[in-house]
């Protein structure tokens, strides 16, 4: 919806053959229907992502079929699978190399929290420890429909982004970081184990 114009007036104008829009609406419409994901998969979730891109589920219906092999050309990072601690610095580096505006979908239990490997020593307990995540899809693995749902959620999120004003989109704020520190390989764990500026887990209250 464009701001500053009454929805009723807009509808009346449309009946008369006059189509009124705003730059923001047009801009977001263009962006949300042409999201190019980064082409990489980490584990079994990647199989579902491939199925989503193939003919049966066909992510092209939503404008997301152009999987790019380079982060410079991608808008969306689908973290599809288990992020091991050895792989995590590379994921963060790929995210840093993507051009703004960029979005992240954490696909599956592992990418969200470590999933069944949460108690292990070698799996990152959620990619949101290092980079901001826009949409989380639970599942092990999530079905292609779930990935399409997440994609549509992301589209509606893009559609609502403001181009100006106090709460404009993060990529338009010069102060907002678009790159995040890449964790180092430490002696016992990644250093740091989480980025406190990104990762704010809820405190658990228990008696």
């Amino acid at each position: 919806m464009s701001e500053g114009i009454d929805e009723g007036l807009r509808s009346k104008l449309q009946q008369q053959g006059v189509w009124v829009t705003s730059v923001q609406e047009l801009y977001n419409w263009g962006r949300k229907n042409s999201i190019w994901p980064l082409q990489f998969g980490l584990a079994c979730c990647a199989i579902e992502m491939i199925a989503t891109a193939a003919s049966r589920y066909d992510i092209a219906r939503f404008g997301g079929e152009v999987f790019r092999p380079s982060p410079r050309q991608a808008d969306l990072m689908i973290v599809a699978g288990t992020v091991t601690k050895k792989m995590a610095p590379q994921i963060v580096r790929l995210y840093n190399q993507m051009a703004d505006p960029k979005y992240v979908i954490a696909m599956g239990a592992c990418a969200i929290s470590g999933g069944p490997f949460k108690q292990g020593y070698n799996v990152l307990k959620g990619i949101d420890r290092y980079i901001p995540v826009d949409v989380y899809i639970p599942g092990c693995p999530p079905r292609p429909e779930a990935l399409l749902h997440a994609f549509m959620e992301l589209q509606s999120k893009i559609d609502e982004q403001k181009l100006s004003g106090a709460n404009k989109a993060a990529h338009l704020e010069p102060e907002e970081p678009s790159e995040f520190p890449v964790p180092e390989f430490g002696k016992h764990d990644l250093e740091p184990p989480a980025n406190p500026n990104v990762f704010r887990p809820p405190a658990i209250e228990r008696a």
Binding site: G120, K125, G186, D189, P193, E205, R206
Partner: protein
């Protein structure tokens, strides 16, 4: 295929000085194995691989075992003279056995379609002397799996062509499959904690505010 006793006797004949022990396996699997001393391990392995009757040319699996230090209690009935009378007294003696690391090789024969013959090697201890001779020169398929044992158990294989960590990063210092390994404590939420996990998760809980504090004043 001949039995382990027979194989043991033939190894001893072929490799003079080799110390071979048979480890029985009383479980339903019933797969006894041979413990080979480190000094003659390479020669024994070569014999097992090349012997025309055995031809164990395929090493299908190599894995590690961590045996912690343990103490064994033994109760012995001893006759003693107590207060002028001879009585039977039960004495318990505690024997401390040092821990060690072990590598287990499962060998098959592609030529004769038989197997497995299981061989083991043991390190002197779990720290600075955790060394074993590498059997990669005999079975090439052992290369990555010996690297894995090096990575996860910390056994150093002498004579290995490329001994580096294979799963964890090079800067990592621990050996995660050892029984005394403790993983970094980086939990933030545990949906169904239990046992050890519950103890660990408790450290991350904040106490629930008392009911009086929750009431609007």
């Amino acid at each position: 295929m001949e039995g382990l006793e027979q194989i043991k006797a033939r190894i001893k004949a072929a490799v003079p000085g080799a110390k071979i022990d048979i480890v029985p396996n009383p479980s339903p699997a019933n797969q006894p194995s041979l413990v080979i001393d480190n000094e003659h391990a390479r020669d024994v392995a070569r014999f097992l691989c090349d012997d025309p009757a055995l031809r164990l040319d395929y090493c299908s699996n190599v894995t590690g075992i961590d045996w912690l230090d343990r103490s064994v209690k033994k109760t012995v009935k001893v006759k003693k003279v107590v207060d002028g009378e001879e009585k039977e007294v039960v004495e318990t003696t505690e024997e401390k056995l040092p821990g060690y690391l072990e590598a287990v090789y499962h060998l098959y024969s592609m030529a004769h379609k038989h197997g497995p013959v299981i061989i083991r090697m043991r390190t002197a201890d779990r720290a600075e002397n955790a060394c074993l001779p590498s059997l990669t020169p005999v079975w090439r398929s052992a290369e990555f799996q010996e690297r894995e044992i090096f990575d996860l158990y910390g056994v150093r294989f002498d004579g290995h062509p490329d001994l580096r960590r294979i799963l964890m990063w090079d800067e990592f210092e621990d050996h995660p499959m050892r029984k005394d390994y403790r993983e970094p404590n980086d939990y933030e939420y545990e949906p169904t904690p239990h046992d050890d996990v519950l103890e660990k998760a408790k450290g991350h809980y904040t106490s629930r505010p008392a009911e009086e504090e929750l009431k609007p004043s």
